[in-house]
């Protein structure tokens, strides 16, 4: 049996989406900028997709820029705002953002911007009060993600948005994980910019969108033609865009309820079957498809590979699974020590996930955790022996 439980990384493209996209490869393939009838048909499909995405976040169609995915949307939002600034050279974000935000912020720091990385509490929440007190008259932008990709915590954007509005600072959110899974309302949440991506919602990879509030100026990042209201050059990826919009329209409230039930079942059963487990993130405000747990005394890469050999796909925040050899910055930010963070396991489900797959995962993981704990010296000790050997501090590792 196989179980794909890594839907926060990416998802299967829905069959309906593949069918819809096919039209734009085989028949309606004209360039949406062309003036002939075929071009106008393509333009119409593009407009429809734009209107559909806009409606889902309570925006107007002309406020949507299609991009090449979530990372590009995040880069465009941050650099687009930053590069227009003359005086305001301060950005506020959080410690748990996706690398496409943190990497862009690090780049902007090199360009002379100062960035405040707000801490989060044990459940991964940014406090609206912290946002408000971090804002200065130099602040150009606040960027706080909606739902976290690792621990699933959904921020209270209404409150953070109010704090930004009170100080008149534009507010961006990375809603790549939450789009279609948790409500987004740009007006109610006081958002000026929102990043979205298609491949997390059963759409194709390499396509996304950035919502830009009317009147908000943005420095273009890709120069060339006048596509996307002159804000992003390049022939529109119509198959991708139409697929994205169609994928977004397919998610129903029943899907969300079903995913949330499977999520709760997974968490409850893990806690019932396996001792020494820590559930990360918030139980109350959690993405409907996210489970993130620590199995104490074992290491996540070992868990991932063992499950993988049994046909199960999950992910881990362990250092050994990352090319940087650093454990997840998100797990560190919620206060987990390095050694504990190594044992994390993220299970992310989709509307296609079945109870049988979850049961197969639960049975397998229970056995595998027990087997790896057999090998671990810490299981019997009941603690991670506090002892360090300086000779074996990894190169490039942050000091403990």
């Amino acid at each position: 049996m196989r179980a794909y439980l890594d839907n926060a990384a990416t998802t299967r493209v829905a069959p309906e989406v593949i069918e819809r996209m096919g039209i734009f490869f085989s028949t309606a393939y004209a360039n949406a900028s062309s003036l002939h009838a075929q071009g106008m048909e393509a333009k119409r499909a593009l407009d429809e997709a734009r209107a559909a995405i806009a409606a889902m976040i309570n925006a107007s169609p002309e406020e949507i820029i299609f991009t090449g995915g979530g990372s590009e949307s995040n880069n465009l939002a941050l650099k687009g705002v930053a590069f227009l600034q003359k005086e305001k050279r301060h950005i506020i974000t959080s410690a748990i953002e996706h690398p496409s935000i943190l990497g862009t912020c690090a780049f902007l720091e090199k360009q002379g911007f100062s960035v405040t990385y707000l801490p989060v509490g044990r459940e991964g929440f940014v406090s609206a009060g912290d946002v408000e007190s971090a804002i200065t008259d130099q602040t150009a932008l606040v960027s706080i993600m909606h739902a976290n990709n690792e621990i699933g915590t959904i921020q209270d954007l209404d409150r953070i948005g109010k704090a930004c509005a009170a100080k008149g600072v534009p507010f961006h959110t990375d809603a790549v994980q939450s789009f279609t899974k948790a409500p987004i309302d740009v007006t109610r949440m006081g958002l000026s910019l929102v990043s979205l991506a298609s491949h997390k919602i059963h759409g194709p990879k390499g396509v996304g969108a950035l919502y830009v509030r009317k009147g908000m100026r943005l420095q273009k990042q890709i120069h060339g033609g006048h596509q996307e209201n002159d804000r992003r050059a390049g022939t529109e990826n119509l198959p991708g865009i139409a697929g994205f919009a169609h994928a977004a329209s397919l998610q129903t409230p029943e899907h969300i309820t079903k995913m949330a039930e499977l999520r709760d079942y997974t968490i409850t059963e893990i806690e019932r079957r396996i001792p020494d487990v820590i559930v990360n993130g918030s139980r109350a405000r959690r993405l409907c498809n996210n489970v993130n747990v620590i199995f104490k005394y074992i290491e996540g890469e070992a868990l991932l590979f063992t499950l993988s050999q049994k046909g199960i796909a999950i992910s881990t925040g362990s250092a050994c699974s990352s090319r940087s050899l650093r454990p997840s910055h998100v797990l560190r930010a919620i206060g987990l020590p390095h050694e504990v963070a190594h044992g994390s396991c993220r299970v992310s489900i989709s509307r296609y996930t079945t109870k049988q797959e979850i049961d197969y995962f639960l049975d397998t993981v229970t056995a595998v955790v027990a087997q790896l704990r057999e090998v671990s010296p810490f299981t019997k000790m009941g603690k991670y022996e506090a002892y360090t050997d300086d000779d074996h501090t990894h190169e490039g590792h942050p000091a403990a």
């Binding site: 070992a302 390095h338 010296p377 506090a386 002892y387 990894h394």
Partner: protein, 126 residues
């Protein structure tokens, strides 16, 4: 990413466990980095009669621990002291470059256990 041999040793590691009345114990690694190995040895007539391990760590940490116990068992102390990290990696048909340093501590743990045995013997003899 991992060789067949690494996955074999990882999936069913050899010589897992502690030796309650071990003659020497070697601990290497750092839980912060995600790899800690304990190697236990039993010595008889100058040979490693038994070698066991417990490891907290990733696939290659567990595989190298298993392999080093296989390589060391039955060897004289002098022979076991000459087992290097590269020997362990070679016997496993190679490790990914990124794992060569961090998760290939098993030979060090073995040497530490032999060191511990020698220290204890000196203590009881003196």
């Amino acid at each position: 990413m991992y060789s067949r041999k690494v996955m074999e040793h990882f999936a069913s590691p050899h010589n897992v466990g502690e030796i309650p009345d071990a003659d020497g114990v070697g601990k290497v690694g750092n839980p912060v980095c995600g790899d800690v190995m304990f190697v236990y040895i039993k010595v008889k007539d100058g040979r490693l009669e038994d070698v066991r391990f417990k490891t907290f760590g990733c696939v290659s940490a567990i595989a190298t621990s298993s392999m080093v116990t296989d390589l060391a068992k039955g060897k004289t102390l002098a022979e076991a002291e000459r087992i290097t990290r590269d020997d362990v990696a070679d016997a496993l048909e190679g490790l990914p470059p990124i794992k060569m340093h961090c998760s290939n501590l098993a030979a060090d743990a073995l040497h530490a256990a032999i060191e511990d045995y020698k220290k204890k013997r000196k203590g009881s003899a003196g």
